[in-house]
Symmetry: C2
Subunit: 310 residues, 2 copies
């Protein structure tokens, strides 16, 4: 009884379903497509059916479950209610109630995907109880963990660190409608934007001018290869990030920053430049905050989702 749990990462394209032991060990995982038609009305029924048929195939029932943790790409109110997920076509959806109804009333926990990823990462870090995760992908996302719990915030906006204002002089508009957000400099898109600007401002030679489209990866690879222009871009990105993380430490003073997302695949070269500027701007007491690379990749959401139950 109660020896298993599901951790489900509900994304805009696929739903990643993880079957876990009650000790948090991943026993099995698979994906189903996210059917967004008709305002995504089939998404939760699809998940309910996937869970039930998995249980049946393995001679189990909902009564054998501790519960289901699920994350979604949108803001979550404390009570397991999702408030608009553009990516899923959802308006207000009572995720916890709906899933619980399909699964015999078992406990359902719901979180935002970036927050769940942060909880997933800390589930692997036994020595830490407070971290801030920074996800450098197409955008810049984040999750705040205090006492090994997700901080949601009054309006579901805790951990929106991509929208920390870092440059009041900015003239271009961020996806959120403001100007000068961290995301405009430190996301994959932001890095390409900075690179494009820099290449226009100068005619200095650079690997970035060679074959193919500009990408954040190309910038970081060129920096690793010693390309001067790419190294300057890396410093610029690192300064924005280091300064934003120093602000976070003046508020929360976390034990560690965990850096994830596609851009973080650059590894130590990126961490080192972020840390350099972090130490420049951080309050003296917090200068030695740990910097870690995320380790769970695309499974972080599933792990975090299930860990809300433990």
């Amino acid at each position: 009884m109660n020896q298993y749990a599901f951790g489900i990462d509900l994304g805009g394209t696929t739903v990643k379903i993880g079957f876990f032991s009650s000790e948090g060990i991943l026993l099995d995982k698979w994906e189903i497509p996210t059917r967004k038609e008709n305002n995504g009305e089939q998404i939760l029924p699809d998940i309910g059916r996937a869970v039930l048929s998995y249980l049946e195939e393995h001679g189990l029932s909902a009564g054998d479950l501790l519960g289901v943790g699920i994350d979604v790409p949108g803001a979550v109110l404390e009570e397991g209610i999702v408030n608009r997920c553009a990516n899923l076509g959802w308006g207000v959806v009572h995720v916890a109630d709906e899933l619980s109804g399909m699964l015999g009333g078992i406990p359902i926990r719901v979180a935002n995907d970036a927050n769940a990823a942060a909880l997933g990462e800390i589930s692997r870090l036994r020595e830490y109880s407070s971290i801030v995760m920074v996800t450098l992908g197409t955008g810049v996302g984040g999750g705040v963990i205090q006492n090994r719990q997700i901080v949601t915030g009054a309006f579901g906006a805790a951990g929106e660190i991509g929208h920390i204002p870092v440059c009041p002089e900015e003239t271009e508009v961020c996806g959120c409608g403001k100007k000068g957000c961290l995301e405009q400099y430190a996301s994959a898109t932001g890095i390409v934007r900075l690179a494009r600007k820099k290449l226009q401002e100068t005619d200095r030679d650079s690997l970035l001018r060679q074959n193919g489209e500009l990408s954040a990866r190309k910038v970081l690879d060129a920096a690793k290869a010693g390309d001067e222009l790419a190294l300057e871009l890396l410093e610029e990105v690192g300064e924005y990030l280091g300064r934003a993380l120093a602000s976070i430490s003046c508020v929360l003073d976390p034990q560690a920053f965990v850096i994830g997302g596609g851009v973080s695949r650059a590894g130590e070269i990126l961490i080192n430049v972020i840390r350099k500027y972090y130490r420049k701007y951080a309050f003296h007491a917090s200068r030695d905050t740990a910097f870690l690379l995320a380790t769970l990749g695309n499974d972080a959401g599933m792990y975090g989702a299930v860990h809300m139950l433990f």
Copy 2:
């Protein structure tokens, strides 16, 4: 039994002692001097004696106490140990153990003074569980409350919001050794600094050029009287503060900001300008965070200290 508690605010000049009911009602308060000689070795014994003789006078004993909460002007490690208080002459002092030893082993809780003030303010705000307090005094202090509990931080530096980097171009040095900290613009000292600069840069007429020394109060009073130069300064201060608080919301998304300290006596004119810039820089979901003026004044520390016991 256990129907009373002490809340003690240990400052660099005086110790404010509050005698509370177990419902958190202040029943009596008085002050004793802070004797800092010989590395402040008499401070805790003085407090112990003050508590014991008050109890004796009122026919009570330590057994009638729920405990003692105390705040100090320095960083506090989780275990009730203070790590250097320059203002008291202290190095590492085991405050909880020492006081508990003098008071028959009753529970002692210890906090940093700015954090205790934040907890004191939220003890009066039944409808909120997460706030960030901003104290605009000689410096800019802060306290972070989550789930009605103080957030201390990994290095005791949570709530050090006076040191959020807000101006990377700054050339003058902050008391902390960095450049461009919020405190350099939004503290009483910072406001005077900005005013002095502005008066030098222009020869425009202003109330600020009239009789007597410049002070933050003079700037804010002149702004209230419609003085153009003072109003420009108020906008400048409000923009730095509003932008810093918008950063905080991208991390924690608190329910409310509580503004206290001497500068906050300016009241609504100050709150309004902070809120204006906050709304400009805040992530859209958090635009309606509440802004409140602190209400406990110099008693906030005492209230917060005692509320650690409840």
